[in-house]
Amino acid sequence: MLLQVSGLEVAYGPVRAVRGVDLEVHQGEIRAILGANGAGKSSIIRAIMGLVKPRGGTVAFAGHALHKLLPHKVNEWGIAWVPEGRQVFSTLTVEENLLMGAFSRRHGQATDARQQQVMDMFPTLRERRTQLAGSLSGGEQQMLAIGRALMSNPRLLLMDEPSLGLAPKVVRSLFDLAQEIRARGISILMAEQNARQALRVADYAYLLEVGEIRGGGSAREMESSETIRRVYLGG
């Protein structure tokens, strides 16, 4: 078991955004958290990353407790974040963005090799190496955000609404990419509104509604579930 979240409680003032959530990710899996806007998906991701302090519950990664750690420590343990809305460093170049992804790993040959790997994966990034990240298109920025996260050689990738704001063709190749990443041995936990695409690639999915897990199962089970079909897949 790579990631284990137990009884997670996240609240912003009086608002309980995440209520007693339990979830797991096993090595080599893609797991999806499905849910509508405001269900609490991002809050779960942010709590795992250490960006928001949970009011209760625990997060364990390969047996180590993470829920009290600052984000840079969580990253050092092997978790990387692809934030909602890409959030590339627009005033830094593409190359500098990638280097930032590897910040927790000292510089040197390993980082250079990693950078080459990432640019092999995304040739567009190699083309635009010295361009300011702010000048890239939405799809290119998404590639950069993912590439940046991969730079730290993570064991687990947290993807927050990766398909948001992207054209349908780009969305498809994005989820294909997720499969490629899994094939390289990196596990993924993704929060997604686009249930159809997420279930196409995920091994297992959770359904989140108003901060609570209302169901979970393998992707096949979820796809054939009446509720999911009706609410998320349009019957």
Binding site: L51, H72, E76
Partner: protein, 300 residues
């Protein structure tokens, strides 16, 4: 024409220290969204540090050039270490606990520190300006009818060296890159493995070291240090930061020099009484036409 060029040169010399102090403000604001109102007092500490070291060493007059430069660098080093340490203490005790949510909290907290530092200086050194002996032998260089004193030149070269060092740090080092990343998006930077608290320390430390160097340069240029010297100088430097916007450090450098030049020209051609009004007039104009600063700012 000659007079104009002379004023231009005087202005650039004077403006270079505005630029250095303004950069300190700008750095801390853009990276941490904190207005450090104690920054001008750190500048003042630099000047007093120079005073203490020079008078404490009982430096004999009439030093040779090499010895003078060595002494200057030594004084600079001591002052920068002092103000750097002061900055780190300030960061840990006052800025780190108050930064984050509401922009006025560190503003008010550092305002308190600023008042405390001014009054401490008054207590320690008296309310009147003290004389800081200049260690640089007083030559005047004349190039094509334009006169530049050795002290002016020293001040200018020190400021330029600092600005170049800062630019190198920000653009070409790992931590400098991290600093830029934190300025834009601290959450994402943290998730990339950047210890934001460490960047906070570094930033305030660097800004304070810069302020200290500017304090020494100015203290020697005007051969005086006073408890309230930070007030007007700091305010004008702050205005430079506001006018330039906090996005590009080169912009702040440029505006600092610009302010120096405009002040010199106003002093030379209109009236020296209006010198201090220049900064405020500039600020009013910018706030009216382009409030985000001439070269743009990050959102707060």
């Amino acid at each position: 024409m000659e007079q104009f060029v002379q004023q231009l040169v005087n202005g650039i010399m004077a403006g270079s220290t505005y630029a250095v102090v303004a950069l300190g403000f700008g750095l801390v604001f853009s990276v941490m969204r904190v207005v450090n109102l104690a920054h001008p007092e750190i500048f003042m500490i630099g000047a007093y540090a120079a005073f203490v070291v020079i008078t404490g060493l009982h430096v004999p007059g009439g030093l040779g050039v090499l010895a003078a430069v060595a002494l200057f660098l030594g004084v600079l080093l001591v002052a920068m270490l002092t103000t750097g340490a002061a900055g780190l203490v300030l960061e840990r005790l006052v800025i780190r606990p108050t930064r984050g949510t509401y922009i006025l909290t560190p503003f008010i907290a550092t305002a308190g520190v600023s008042i405390a530092l001014q009054n401490s200086a008054q207590r320690l050194f008296g309310p009147d300006p003290v004389r800081v002996p200049s260690v640089i032998p007083p030559y005047t260089f004349t190039v094509g009818g334009v006169r530049v004193t050795s002290m002016q030149l020293t001040t200018f070269l020190t400021a330029v060296a600092i600005m170049l060092a800062l630019r190198y740090y920000v653009h070409s080092t790992r931590w400098g890159r991290a600093t830029r990343a934190v300025a834009e998006n601290p959450d994402v930077a943290a998730a990339c493995g950047v210890n934001v608290n460490r960047v906070s320390q570094l930033t305030v430390g660097i800004a304070s070291i810069m302020a200290g160097a500017a304090g020494v340069a100015l203290g020697l240029l005007y051969t005086s240090a006073a408890p309230f010297m930070g007030l007007l100088y700091g305010l004008k430097s702050f205005i430079c930061m506001l006018v330039a916007g906090n996005r590009h450090i080169e912009a702040i450098m440029a505006v600092g020099l610009l302010l120096g030049v405009v002040e010199a020209i106003v002093t030379g051609y209109i009236s020296s009484n209006l010198r201090d009004a220049v900064a405020f007039a500039l600020l009013l104009a910018v706030l009216f036409f382009r409030p985000q600063g001439l070269f743009g700012s990050y959102e707060v």
